[in-house]
Symmetry: C2
Subunit: 373 residues, 2 copies
């Protein structure tokens, strides 16, 4: 039996947006969904209970980081990642590919895999498609990702073509190495950079291998936003309607909305948690850099329209004080709010799809949020 | 009407320990009690809800730090410290004296007060007894402390005598400057170093001024433990039975027990929260330095006898991983446990006093905890 099942409930009549349900071994996820990132087996500054309070349906964790520390074998001994980190809802793990490729001069790519040095202690390691699969099997995530090569932007056509073809060969090896297809779903990843024919080639090759879900990789890597939307415009229609689609590394409100409109079901990004720890809140009126002096005596909530724990109980003045004083609670309160903000946005998006008015909703949202559209 | 009322419920027949109730404008505190420290208007790594979950009845906050940042006038504008930090239970503020005297070469003491430079930006400030009182009036704490001079250890008799006499004169000035005696209780502080006759002199002078509660200052400043216990032995009997007694800056389990046995009702210390952030847990078997390698694959709780949130849900292996990875959740989980451990200890102490068996309880506790007694 397959580990997951995707049910397409409806498609928005105003846009290409899809409303769905993804059944996983650790519960059902309503899509489209944003996944908070818990890089090192914890979503920074949040307890699992706080994540549930804001209705996080699924979180993402990073294979590279957990392989480096504490090690996948230790997590396996602990009873798997869910038990280790006290999270009983679904978990998606990436393949480690993106992190390893980001190491730059510290890594060397061959057909067999990637040799690299640890960012922690400089020790030498090797991750192959088989190894990335083994690690994720040990972690026990509900959704695993194939070990792919994410081409940088800009990159010339030949580089991207070679890279996507290797990604195809690696995807096949990951599928062959996967030990628990009945308990963990392995997603394929479509690469191809900003080249339409290469995206078509990649989608065709990856779909031939056949996966229970497909990610679109190689976007949000520095290209202009319009280019990302253009790639999505021609890539999502290539993917099967009855499988979930995941746009990796995307999490700004505008990108989430544009992605959903183009038929994407799942997203993840460190953005909301990372900017929180720098003292920046995402609000219905746009970003609020609460560490700024102008908020020193502002006794209103981070977002006056928000009903999250942070906004119900704390003022900008207090949160600014915490941020200035380097207090942990500052990171906790803004992280809580930012994740709530994105999860609430996705809830509103699902509602708008149900009502066939996602384009109207997008317009309303951006009018307040202050983006040009 | 007085801001607080102290009810002495009973005295342990095995020891001098007292069971009491302290009625404050923000609720009733069962004594003896340990007060978690929220230096900068937050108990580090804890939300107010988490503090309530572990039954924190009262917290302490620091006048010096809040005066420096964000400023007492800002806190007053926010509606007072309770509202500012979202804490509706009692708060005790110190006077800032201890912090200012700790600045060493950055401060200059005169009869009028203390001139010092900020630890944040080097700016020049002056705190007098009147100023310390004004700041605490602005903060709106339930219990305020007089601005005293805490003599260092060791200190010669003349220094200590001069210092305690100034503390008496300053205590009088604080009482005179206090604007809200019906809403905020101002406690006197007995000084006198390690000299019995000076402790007697200080107690007599401070009690003559008449305060609703008395602290014992100048202990836990580097002297050997037996000396602290000796000073308590002859100091607490000098204090009135019908007023609460507060031993400042004390928070190790042995000192708490020895203090209670000698008739102390209230304690505070940064110890449990500070060592938590360094990866050290207080447990029924003594300290556990969870960052140590030997806990890497220890899948038991921090304290197998503990039923706190941390111990019910997380292993030493996971917490060690968080600490090693500098994850905020590591600080949060250990802080939660350490505070729970001390608050639970005080709950057990109250129970043992009620049952006239505190010395038996002390023996049982230390047999496990591993201290020499």
């Amino acid at each position: 039996m397959a580990a997951i099942k995707f049910e397409l409930i409806k498609t928005c009549k105003q846009s290409g947006a899809r409303l769905g349900k993804l059944y996983t071994p650790h519960g059902v996820i309503e899509t489209p969904i944003f996944m908070p990132v818990g890089t090192q087996a914890t979503v920074k500054a949040m307890t699992p209970e706080a994540l549930k309070e804001i209705n996080s349906q699924i979180i993402l964790s990073n294979t590279y980081h957990l392989y480096m520390r504490p090690g996948h074998k230790l997590v396996e001994k602990a009873g798997g990642l869910h038990k280790f980190m006290n999270w009983d809802r679904p978990i998606l793990t990436d393949s480690g590919g993106f992190q390893v490729f980001s190491l730059g001069p510290l890594r060397k790519i061959t057909e067999e895999g990637v040799e690299f040095r640890s960012h922690l202690d400089g020790s030498k390691h090797f991750i192959s498609p088989e190894k990335a699969t083994e690690i994720q099997n040990s972690l026990g995530s509900d959704i695993m990702m194939v070990f792919d090569e994410c081409a940088p932007y800009p990159a010339d056509r030949d580089y991207v073509k070679n890279s996507l073809e290797r990604t195809t060969r690696w995807a096949k090896r990951c599928k062959d190495a996967h030990k628990n297809p009945d308990r963990q779903a392995l997603f394929g990843i479509v690469q191809g950079g900003m080249y339409k024919d290469l995206r078509e080639q990649s989608a065709r090759e990856i779909m031939e291998i056949d996966f229970p879900g497909y990610a679109i990789g190689g976007l949000s890597v520095g290209e202009p936003k319009h280019l990302m939307y253009e790639v999505l415009d021609y890539t999502t229609p290539l993917l099967p309607k009855d499988k979930p689609r995941y746009l990796m590394g995307v999490g700004s409100p505008d990108d989430l909305l544009e992605g959903v409109i183009r038929g994407v079901d799942m997203f993840d990004c460190v953005l909301p948690t990372r900017i929180a720890r720098n003292g920046t809140a995402m609000t219905s009126q746009g970003k609020v850099v609460v560490r700024n002096a102008k908020y020193a005596e502002d006794f209103t909530p981070l977002d006056p329209e928000c009903d999250c724990y942070t906004c119900k109980n704390y003022t900008r003045a207090y949160i600014r004080h915490l941020v200035k004083a380097n207090e942990i609670l500052g990171s906790t309160l803004i992280t809580h709010h930012n994740l709530y903000f994105l999860l609430k946005l996705m809830e509103n998006v699902r509602k708008a799809i149900m009502e066939d008015r996602l384009l109207d909703y997008k317009k309303e949202f951006f009018q307040k949020y202050g983006y040009e559209i």
